[in-house]
């Protein structure tokens, strides 16, 4: 499964380097800028795949990094990679946005013209998939997106969300099933 730039950075960044960088970033803006550049595209890509709108993505990415800057002194480098912490903040922000927007998004799913499953228009298929995903409860959206879109293993998803692996597995199974039902509803309508 393909991983985004941000996750590759999480996996490959030397722990000692990152630990030192985080300590510096509490005092020096340039050190924070390094962290920002290291994780920006990964976080932005994750948010964009969930919300599908460039402007909303930019706003949410800004929220994530401002929150990270504000709470950097509370971040403790104890086996939780900095990137995981950012994904946790990002998930929280997107879930909050999704809860607010869900009613409107479900409505748009209803009035949205059906898309043939075999359509070659990848953008339309992606939009259809995104709206179907957004129709699920945010807790299911989050595990499905982190695991299947960002390529995180179950253990990493559990750490990101701060819950048990068993919880992630059950949400993955239920989320997949609910997504399948959403997709098939659309398919039968078309």
């Amino acid at each position: 499964m393909e991983m985004d730039l941000g996750m590759r950075a999480t996996a490959s960044a030397p722990a000692d380097d990152e630990r030192e960088l985080i300590l510096q970033a509490r005092r020096e803006p340039q050190a924070f800028a390094v962290l920002y550049r290291r994780y920006y595209s990964g976080i932005a890509g994750y948010i964009f795949r969930r919300v599908g709108d460039t402007h909303v993505t930019e706003d949410l990415v800004a929220d994530v990094f401002v929150a990270a800057l504000g709470h950097l002194t509370q971040y403790h480098h104890r086996g939780l990679p900095f990137g995981t912490w950012l994904y946790r903040i990002a998930t929280n922000r997107v879930n909050r946005w999704a809860r607010r927007e869900r009613a409107r998004l479900v409505q748009s799913l209803v009035i949205d013209p059906p898309v043939e499953p075999a359509s070659t228009d990848s953008k339309a298929r992606a939009e259809h998939a995104r709206l179907s995903l957004l129709a699920l409860k945010p807790k299911y959206q989050a595990v499905l997106a982190l695991h299947y879109l960002e390529g995180m293993p179950v253990t990493e998803v559990a750490r990101t969300l701060g819950c048990r692996e068993g919880t992630v597995k059950s949400r993955l199974a239920r989320g997949r099933e609910q997504l399948r039902q959403r997709l098939e509803q659309r398919r039968s309508r078309s």
Partner: protein, 291 residues
């Protein structure tokens, strides 16, 4: 495209193909962050480092089943999300309806978060209690009580006035409609902390209802100096303790009544946060989809 492919996998393939095309970083945002960094550096440190170490949330949720959008859902479990100073922890209660975990505070101390679910004898309401207890020496304490009304019924546990014994109220205040509220602090004989009770007297019937507002891990009455009580305009009750050695502990008790219907939808979980946003608690039910 092969139509026999699992539609879920096809959907994920389509979404994975969506790339963030706006660049590897955003210089405008980077500039904003640097400005934010410098602004924060010039802000007095104390104002930013106020750590709230005790949060107690109680939400009373109506019934094992309550109306969700599209029908009545059977609740299977609870998910509680606690955010303390930006540290987010989401936990699911175990088979005993409990969970305990720790959160590191900025000052190096550790806060212990304990969540416990309980049901009354008739099982007609469920309470979820979230308490965060820290051991920071110089930090402030804050205590939050949340009461939520869900579905058709909500009723805080009404206690006998006997629990108050001969105690005198520490403070009292009156609503605009004449309802009298009295705060009592009582140390139970079999516990280390204090119980805070609020007695509410109806202006018409003159009947008094006593409810347990909060429990503290340490006694509020053990010191030589009596606690100072202050009711803020926002309804926050502040209890200030001076141990006589120059150390002041503050506990804030916030009583939050949900509006009728608020949180009744499973997709709109009950949430609460302190005015400064340092402590946030979200409690959401998980419906039993197999029923």
């Amino acid at each position: 495209m092969n139509d026999s492919r699992d539609p879920v996998d096809s959907a994920f393939d389509a979404l994975r193909s969506q790339r963030w095309a706006a660049g590897n970083h955003n210089l405008e945002l980077e500039d904003q962050l640097m400005q934010e960094f410098n602004n924060r550096r010039t802000t007095p440190r104390f104002a930013r480092s106020r750590t709230l170490l005790i949060a107690l949330g109680v939400v009373t949720l109506g019934g094992v089943a309550f109306a969700a959008s599209g029908g009545v859902a059977q609740l299977k479990n609870w998910f509680v999300t606690v955010e303390i100073n930006g540290e987010v922890s989401q936990v699911q209660l175990d088979e005993n309806g409990e969970n305990t975990f720790t959160v590191d505070n900025a000052d190096g101390s550790t806060a212990t978060v304990h969540i416990q679910k309980s049901s009354d004898m008739d099982n007609d309401h469920t309470s979820v209690r979230v308490s965060v207890v820290g051991d920071g020496e110089h930090a402030e304490d804050e205590e939050v009580r949340i009461t939520g009304k869900r579905a058709l019924q909500w009723m805080p546990e009404i206690l006998s006035e006997d629990v108050l014994g001969d105690a005198e109220p520490f403070d009292s205040w009156m609503d605009e409609d004449g309802t009298l509220h009295e705060l009592f602090i009582i140390d139970p004989e079999d516990g280390a902390g204090s119980n805070l009770y609020i007695a509410t007297t109806d202006p018409v019937s003159e009947e008094t209802a006593v409810t347990l507002a909060a429990q503290t891990p340490m006694s509020l009455l053990a010191g030589d100096v009596e606690p100072e009580i202050e009711l803020g305009d926002d309804g926050t009750l502040t209890i200030r303790l001076d141990d006589g050695l120059g150390r002041i502990r503050e506990m804030k008790l916030m009583i939050r009544h949900a509006q009728p219907g608020e949180g009744a939808d499973l997709d709109d979980p009950f949430h609460f946060e302190t005015p400064d946003g340092n402590i946030k608690v979200v409690i959401e039910g998980e419906e039993d989809e197999e029923m």
